[in-house]
Structures are given as structure tokens and as C-alpha cells.
Amino acid sequence: MMTARSLHSLAIAGTLAGALTLSFGHAARAQDTIKIGELNSYKTQTAFLDPYKKGWELAIEQINAKGGVLGKKLEVISRDDGSTPGDAVRVADELVTREGVNIIAGTFLSHIGLAVTEFAGKKKVFFLAAEPLTDKITWQNGNKYTFRLRATTYMQVAMLMPAAVAAKKKRWALVYPNFEYGQAAVATFKEMLKAQQPDVEFVTEQAPPLGKVDAGAVVQAIDDAKPDAIFNVLFGADFSKLVREGTTRGVFKDRTVVSLLSGEPEYLDPVKEEAPVGWIVTGYPWDKIKTPEYLAFLTAYQKKYNDYPRLGSIVGYVTMTSLAAGIAKAGSTDTDKLIAAFEGLKLDSPFGPFMYRASDHQATMGAYVGKIALEGGKGTMADFKYVDGATVLPSDAEVKKLRPVTE
């Protein structure tokens, strides 16, 4: 007769055995496709990543309709990364060990992007970081295996710098989310502006926690510091709150506001008719770009989804077209060949031609800089121009000094 205790322990054995079978029993499929592993924080960054997914799905559909790459179709194995670096590394490992991919792409938040960058460098896996903005992915913590598509924090700030200098304002207030993205953006902004305008004063710095801005108190503190101009790095729900409270309290009146990413539909659309007119922003005026390559993308996207693209759609779309172009140029999916192909890879995107720099593996795809305007009760951008990323990136020699020496 078995005792309760012993059955008890058998229960554990059973559980673990169950665990094994779950992760087991996975027959290798025939290699008639090129597999790409993709991971992202789909559950927590939905506003950006839902269009992002639509974007890359469109790209894959188009590529495969044309016969794929190297005679094989592309197959994306997409995963949720659990929104924590620890889970993301396990998911990346799962894609590599279980699904047998040697190319991974994706990630959104900086710290997750960095953790996967680190993983890619260690396990010698090709990684295309799609969205994370932190400069460290391509500079301080860069490695041979990692490339990055999106224009970085440094680039976004540099794009806005001419307008900030031209405003000729002496007293600046800074408001940013209290994590690396916000901190880095503000540090770059201060350094660049001080270099070009030595008498500038930074009268206050407000660093609310991400997603938890106490907007009323924050805009009041900014107002009390009596700045001539404001540099904002808040985005998402924080941005909406800031705009509403600041407008009600008249804080933005007669002040120049320079704001990072606020022209992206993801962040601008939720505030609807309250869009803060006149703010100088980086972004993406989706309905106003008239280049043929963009219109082709727009038409295809709207036809497939009956919805307009957000910036995430562009990032997702270009992520997969980049990989397809890279694999085609390499003529193989071999990791080293793919890296060699990506270094200096030139390709066309809805935003125009760009390249992946060989020096720091950063893509030169730029962004649109302009002023927020209100048209038909909706926020959009006016007086905008496309700024090529190549024009704002430091030289190859400079970034070489920033990257780790062990390459």
C-alpha cells in the first residue's frame, strides 16, 4: 500500500515528466523555407506592436508572392517575449535551439533589446533589433552579430537640434520618463545644445516614472520654473496626460516645445483634436508623404488591413524586407555571410533608400521632422521634411571609439 506521501512525490515526478514531453516531441521539418525567429513584447506594447506585426506580415506576404528569397519562402516564427529580459532570453534560446533558427529579429524596450543583443553576441546568432532606441545596442554594448533598424535616441535628438537652436531660447525645461531612454535623450540634448548655444540654462528637470506621470503637478512645476522653451520626451499615456493638463493650465502658451517621437500616429492620434499645435517633433505624417515608394506601401497596407499604417507598421515592414535583402545579398543564411552582407547593405524602404553602416551596424533610415498641426479635428504634421539618418550619425571613426574593443 502506497502512502499518501509517496504518491505525493510521484505527483512531482509526473509533473516534471509532463514538462519534458511538452518541450519534447518536436520533429524536424524539412528545410524548404528560411526560418526567421521574431520576438516582441506584444502583450504590453500593443499600441505600437499590433501595427508592427501587420507591417511585417505584409512584407512577408509580398516577398513570398514574388517567390521568396534564394528560391525559398520566408517563414516567421513569432513569439511573445514576456516583456521581461529574462523571459526574452529564454524565448530567443527556444527559437534557436528548438526551432533551429539562426536569425532573430524584434524587441521593443531598450533593456530587453540589450539582453537579446548580449545573448546574440554570446551564442553567435544574427540579431536585427527592430525598435529599441538605446544607443548602447550599436555603441557601448554593440557586437558583431547585432544590427539595428530604428533611428536611435541620439539620432532622434540630433534631428531636432537645428530647430531647438534656431528657436534661440535661453531657459529650457526638460521633462522625460525616468528610465534609460529618457535619461539618454535628455543627456544628449543638453550636451548638444550647450555646445551650440553656451549660454543656455536648464531651469528644471522633471523625471516622472514611466506610465505614472502626475501630470497636473509636473506641468505646474515646469510653469513655476518660468522656462522659455520645453523639451519633452514623454510618450504614450504620459504624453496624453501631459498635453491635456498643460493645455488646460496654459503652460504651453507662448513657449517653444520640442518633443521627441510625438509626431508618430501611435502617440499623436489618441489626443485627437487636442493635438498640441506648433510643437516641433520627430514623427511620421502617414497621410502626407507623397513619394512613389511610400504610396505603393500605403496602398498595399490599406488594401490588406483596411486601416492606416502607424510607425510600427513601417518598422515591422522594413525589418522583414531588410532581412530578405540581406539574405539575398549573402546568397545564404550562414551567419558570417549574413553579417558580411548586412555591413553596408543598401536597400529601399517606404521612407526612401537607406543602408546598414558597417562601422556600428546602425541603419540610416531617418524620420520626419516637422510641427504638429490640426487638420479636420486630428493631429498631423506640417512643414515637415525627411531627415536622413546618415546626416545625423557620428562618423565611423567616432563610433569606433564608442564600441567595445573586443571585436
Binding site: 518541450s23 504590453t44 535551439t97 548580449e118 506610465g211 493638463e245
Partner: protein, 632 residues
């Protein structure tokens, strides 16, 4: 900061306090009567923001906005009642805290359901009709809606106060908070009372959410943000005290407004940005209050609740059969790399599962046999992980040394925090541990030069011979097995018996000469140290560590694992951690709406095994034994 600016920020603080008060009051009422730690309370608030948005934009105008607020509050109350009737009512007899697991599952389900219904985009509601402008106060512009909020908070407080003092329902509620068994014995329909209280709490949450749509967008991240703040307010004010909740909401909102108002301040060349303190201000307040006043500002000592759960069986040492089963399991785990040849992911997952097992077992050590419900066990995981990672980063320490340092740092942290924590009990102890964990998290997050801030520490890889998967798996297995066995050894040593004596009957334990606080303090420290090992292993397994990994959600994961397995059994945490880790991994791969599915499965498990998975099995078997004995 001028005096006027200071006064004006105080007004801002008051309007923020009203929002906090609504959620906190509901949470406090629910806990007071039903003793349920309702993690889904933030989700009810979130639903409130979404429903109110829909009504306000669909109907439009003043009717849509103001009518929408009333309608939302009622609808959310209905949802709350449904949750109580369909789910919670079935598990009141489960061991203490078990209902937390059900509400955790609800958080997952509700969040995915909201995403499914309302979509991913943030939804900014209309401004409040009639209150769109601002008026001049102290030379600054204060939105009229903020003024409305400043008054509506105290008004609801007054209404609640009247309801509790003057109505029969209110009297019953107060009586149930004092002694719910006695209320039941006097013939009051407890089921109705509990449903009513839950609906009232949900109503307040829905009202709080609906009132915010004029100030902030409805977003999917609201649920977790709000629940954290609400817990702090409730505990600072004193569990079950409505006026306390308001007082605490005001204090916390004012401290934050003050930090923001101060902004960047120079202390003779030393610059401090006070606005960054808002990250952790409420937890600093909570820790300070709990250390000075163990039952919150206006709370009273918790009356001992006569547990409605079945009494717990004493722990017994392992029988030979158990030992053999354990040995077989160990052999299987040792042989795992052989199987893994064809499926290397097994080892990747295996390492994660083993780390989770060690984490959960160390938490169970103080939660189960120790009776100390720690809501901040992630702190010791984090101290271990960061201890190891920082040694590698700053001193290029070899892996062995770094791993050895992990439990040491965690031990130091646990000794320090434990000393304060064991002076409290029940939910106050839980919240103090949570406050400490948040303080550790914030220190790590903020101290950028040392810890790398939000990006964390990168490049922490194991050195040879553990730099490949197989050997590292063996290392993890060895340390996890040793850790689990060590904790077991403690439990069956006189120390463990003393610990359980202190839990079950502190007075009698003291009477026979046991220093209960000291025993519990040491237990806390031991659990912290073992947890530190798990943290150290984690850092090396992932190659990096960042603050998010040691946040509240890891503490909650730990609770979920322990409760899922069964808090009253020693194998519970092992099974719970394995099941949870494997399920989560499996779900994340199989569907887009994996959180809803995970939540759904946890709900099923909760209903099927109201004393945890292992607890359920044990009960089943002992019942069969009794019947077969009766038959023979």
C-alpha cells in the same frame, strides 16, 4: 519653490488623492470583511475607465459623460458581484491567501479581454462637460475638474461613513470586520453580505476609474499601476479603515506633489532631482509608517480570524517511499541532458524551472511553515542576482566567487529587512516586505552609475567549464537540489519545529521559552539566502540582469507558484513552480491571447484543487485510504 507654488502643489495633491482614495477604499472594505487580497481590484478600475470612455464617446455630451460615470459604477459593481458569486464563493474554505491566486488569474483574463474588446490603442476620453476650463488660484490656473475632484473625494468618504454608521448593511459590515463567524452565528446571511461588500468595493473602483477619463487615457497598463498604489494607501491608512484610506491617500499624493514641486535642488554643489523620488515615494512612506505604527495610521490590531479552512495536518518527515520517489526524480533530472541531445531546449527550460523551484521553495519556507506571507521575495532574488552580477562587472570576479557572494548579500538584506518585518504579522507583514522589495528595486533602478539603471548589468556569462548548457544545467540542478534539501533539513530540525510552534501558537511557544521573533527572523534570513542562490544562478543563466526582473511581478509569481502547488505541503512549491513555469512557456508559444488562457487554466486549477495541486492529491488519497479501510 515659493510659498504660493507650494500651496498650489498641495491643491494638485488633493485632487490626485481623491482618485487614489476610491480604489483604496473599495480594496479596504473587501479585505476587511472577506479577508481577500483582491489583486484584480486594479483591473476593475481599468474596466471602469474603458466602459466610461465608451459611454461618454458613444452617447456624447453631458449625459454621456456624467450619466456614463454613474452607469459605469453600477456595471462594475455587477461585475464584482458576479466574480464573488461565480468564483470566490467557491473557495472561501481554502487555506488563507488562496483566493489571491484566483484574483491573480482574473487580472490576466480581464486584461486580455479588455484588449480584445477595446483594442490596443490608448483611449483618451472627452473633457468633463461643464468643467473644461480652469480658474485662477494663487496666480496659477487650476482646472475646474480638479476642484471637483478635490471635493468629490471627501464627499464619498462622508457618504460611506454614513452608510457604515447608520444603515443595517453598514452595521453588519462592521460587525463582520470584527468577527464574521459571530455574525454568521447570529443568523446573518453571510453569502449575501460578502456579495454585497464585493459589489460595493467594485463600485468604488469603477467610479474611481470612470472619474479619471477626463484626465488620462484608458490604457491596458492601468491595472497593475493602480493596484500597487491602492495597496500602499490601504496599508498606510490601516486595513479596513475608510477614513484612514483617505488620510493615507492625501499624505501620499502630497508627498509626491511636493517632490515634483521641489524638482532639482542644489545642496552646495550636490544636485538632487526630487522628481525622481516619485518612483518610490509611496513605498518609503509605507515603510516608515509600518515601522512606527504597525497597523497603519488609523488601523487597529487585526483580530485573529478563526480560520474557516480545514485545519492543517502537521508536517511529517519523509517516509522511505518518498525518499525513493525523490531519488528517482533526481536520477531522471540528472539523465535529462541525455534526452536533451535531440531537443536541447529541454535544458534551457529545465534551468529556468529549477531556478523557479528554488525561488518558490525558499518563499514557501517562510510562507507555509513560517506563516509569514512575504509579498516581496523578489528583493532577495534581486540582491543575489545583482550581488553576483556587480562582482563580475566591477571586480571581474570569477563565477565561483560571484555565486558564493549571491546568498551572502541576500542574507544581509534579509537580516536587515526581516528584523523589521517579523515585528508585524498578517497582511501588514506582507506589505512591509513589499515596501522593502520596492525600495531595493528603486535603488537598483536609480543608482545608474553602479547598477546600470533600467538597462541593468550585461555580460554576466558563466565561465568554463560551465559555459555550455549541459554543465550549467548540472550546476543549477546541484544547487537547487541542495537548496531544497537544506531547507527541508531545517524544517525537521528543532529549529523547524520551533518555527511552526511560533506560527501556530505564539503565546504557548513563548511560554515554553522559545523566542518566537528571533526564530522567525532567522527563518526569514535563511529563506532570503537560499533565494539569493536562485538569483545568482538566474543572472548567469541569462547573461544579464535588469531591475524589471526583480520587480513586483516576480514576487507575485512566487506567491502564485506556492499557492498553486499547495501551501500546506512541502512538495507544493516544487510542483507549483514547475507547473507554472512550464505552462507559461507553453502558453506563450501557443496563442496570442496567452495570458487569458494561462489565467483560465489557473482558474480551473483553483476550482478543482482549492488547496493547491499537491494538497488536492493528498486529500484525495487520504480520503480513499479511509474508505478502503472502512470497507475492509
Amino acid at each position: 519653490m515659493s510659498f504660493n507654488a507650494f500651496l498650489f502643489q498641495a491643491l494638485n495633491g488633493l485632487s490626485a488623492a481623491s482618485g487614489l482614495f476610491f480604489v483604496a477604499a473599495g480594496l479596504s472594505l473587501i479585505f476587511g470583511v472577506t479577508r481577500i487580497v483582491n489583486i484584480a481590484h486594479g483591473s476593475l478600475y481599468m474596466i471602469g475607465t474603458y466602459i466610461a470612455y465608451s459611454v461618454a464617446t458613444k452617447v456624447g455630451g453631458a449625459v454621456g459623460f456624467w450619466g456614463g460615470i454613474v452607469l459605469t459604477a453600477l456595471l462594475v459593481a455587477l461585475i464584482g458581484a458576479a466574480i464573488e458569486i461565480l468564483l470566490l464563493r467557491r473557495i472561501y474554505r481554502a487555506p488563507e491567501l488562496f483566493q489571491l491566486l484566483a484574483t491573480f488569474a482574473l487580472v490576466l483574463v480581464i486584461n486580455d479581454a479588455t484588449l480584445w474588446i477595446w483594442g490596443p490603442e490608448d483611449l483618451l476620453g472627452p473633457r468633463a462637460p461643464g468643467l473644461t476650463g480652469s480658474i485662477e488660484v494663487l496666480g496659477r490656473r487650476l482646472p475646474t475638474y480638479d476642484i471637483f475632484l478635490i471635493f468629490v473625494g471627501p464627499f464619498v468618504l462622508w457618504m460611506l461613513h454614513l452608510a457604515l454608521a447608520k444603515t443595517r448593511f453598514g452595521r453588519l459590515m462592521r460587525a463582520a470586520t470584527q468577527d464574521r463567524e459571530m455574525v454568521g452565528a447570529l443568523g446573518v446571511n453571510q453569502a449575501m453580505l460578502f456579495t454585497g461588500v464585493f459589489a460595493l468595493g467594485a463600485l468604488l473602483a469603477g467610479l474611481g476609474g470612470a472619474l479619471q477619463i477626463a484626465r488620462e487615457p484608458a490604457t491596458l497598463a492601468t491595472d497593475l499601476i493602480v493596484i500597487g498604489d491602492a495597496f500602499v494607501v490601504v496599508v498606510v491608512g490601516g486595513m479596513g479603515s475608510i477614513s484612514g484610506a483617505y488620510l493615507a491617500a492625501v499624505i501620499i499624493a502630497e508627498v509626491k506633489a511636493l517632490c515634483i514641486g521641489l524638482g532639482v535642488v542644489n545642496f552646495g554643489g550636490f544636485t538632487v532631482n526630487f522628481s525622481k523620488l516619485t518612483l518610490v515615494a509611496e513605498f518609503l512612506v509605507m515603510a516608515a509608517v509600518l515601522i512606527a505604527r504597525p497597523y497603519g495610521l488609523l488601523g487597529r490590531e487585526q483580530v485573529a480570524v478563526r480560520s474557516v479552512a480545514e485545519p492543517e495536518e502537521p508536517l511529517r518527515p519523509a517516509t522511505p517511499a518518498t525518499k525513493i520517489a525523490g531519488l528517482i526524480l533526481l536520477v531522471v533530472l540528472v539523465c535529462l541532458p541525455l534526452i536533451a541531445k535531440s531537443s536541447p531546449y529541454t535544458l534551457v527550460l529545465g534551468i529556468d524551472v529549477l531556478i523557479a523551484v528554488l525561488f518558490a521553495t525558499s518563499l514557501h519556507f517562510i510562507m507555509g511553515p513560517g506563516g509569514m506571507h512575504s509579498f516581496g521575495h523578489a528583493a532577495y532574488f534581486g540582491l543575489g542576482a545583482y550581488g553576483a552580477a556587480l562582482l563580475v562587472k566591477w571586480f571581474a570576479a570569477p563565477m565561483g566567487l560571484a555565486l558564493a557572494a549571491a546568498p551572502v548579500l541576500a542574507l544581509v538584506g534579509a537580516l536587515l529587512f526581516g528584523w523589521f518585518a517579523v515585528r508585524l504579522s498578517g497582511v501588514y507583514l506582507a506589505m512591509l516586505t513589499l515596501a522593502f522589495a520596492q525600495i531595493v528595486w528603486a535603488a537598483v533602478f536609480q543608482w545608474e552609475t553602479l547598477t546600470g539603471g533600467s538597462n541593468g548589468v550585461l555580460g554576466i556569462w558563466p565561465s568554463a567549464p560551465f559555459d555550455t548548457r549541459g554543465p550549467f544545467y548540472f550546476l543549477t540542478l546541484a544547487l537547487a537540489a541542495l537548496g531544497v534539501l537544506l531547507l527541508r533539513k531545517f524544517l525537521f530540525a528543532p529549529f523547524g519545529y520551533a518555527m511552526r510552534a511560533g506560527r501556530d501558537s505564539p503565546l504557548r511557544a513563548e511560554a515554553i521559552g522559545l523566542d518566537v521573533k528571533r526564530v522567525h527572523w532567522l527563518a526569514f534570513a535563511i529563506a532570503g539566502a537560499v533565494c539569493g542562490i536562485a538569483g545568482g544562478l538566474f543572472a548567469f543563466a541569462k547573461g544579464s540582469i535588469s531591475p524589471e526582473t526583480i520587480g513586483v511581478s516576480r514576487s507575485i509569481d512566487g506567491l502564485v507558484m506556492v499557492l498553486l502547488g499547495g501551501i500546506q505541503t512541502l512538495t507544493g512549491p516544487i510542483v507549483g513552480a514547475s507547473v507554472y513555469a512550464v505552462l507559461q512557456d507553453f502558453m506563450m508559444r501557443s496563442t496570442e491571447y496567452w495570458r487569458a488562457l494561462l489565467g483560465g487554466i489557473i482558474l480551473l486549477l483553483v476550482l478543482a484543487f482549492p488547496s493547491g495541486i499537491v494538497g488536492g492529491f493528498v486529500k484525495l488519497i487520504s480520503r480513499r485510504n479511509t474508505t478502503s479501510k472502512a470497507a475492509s
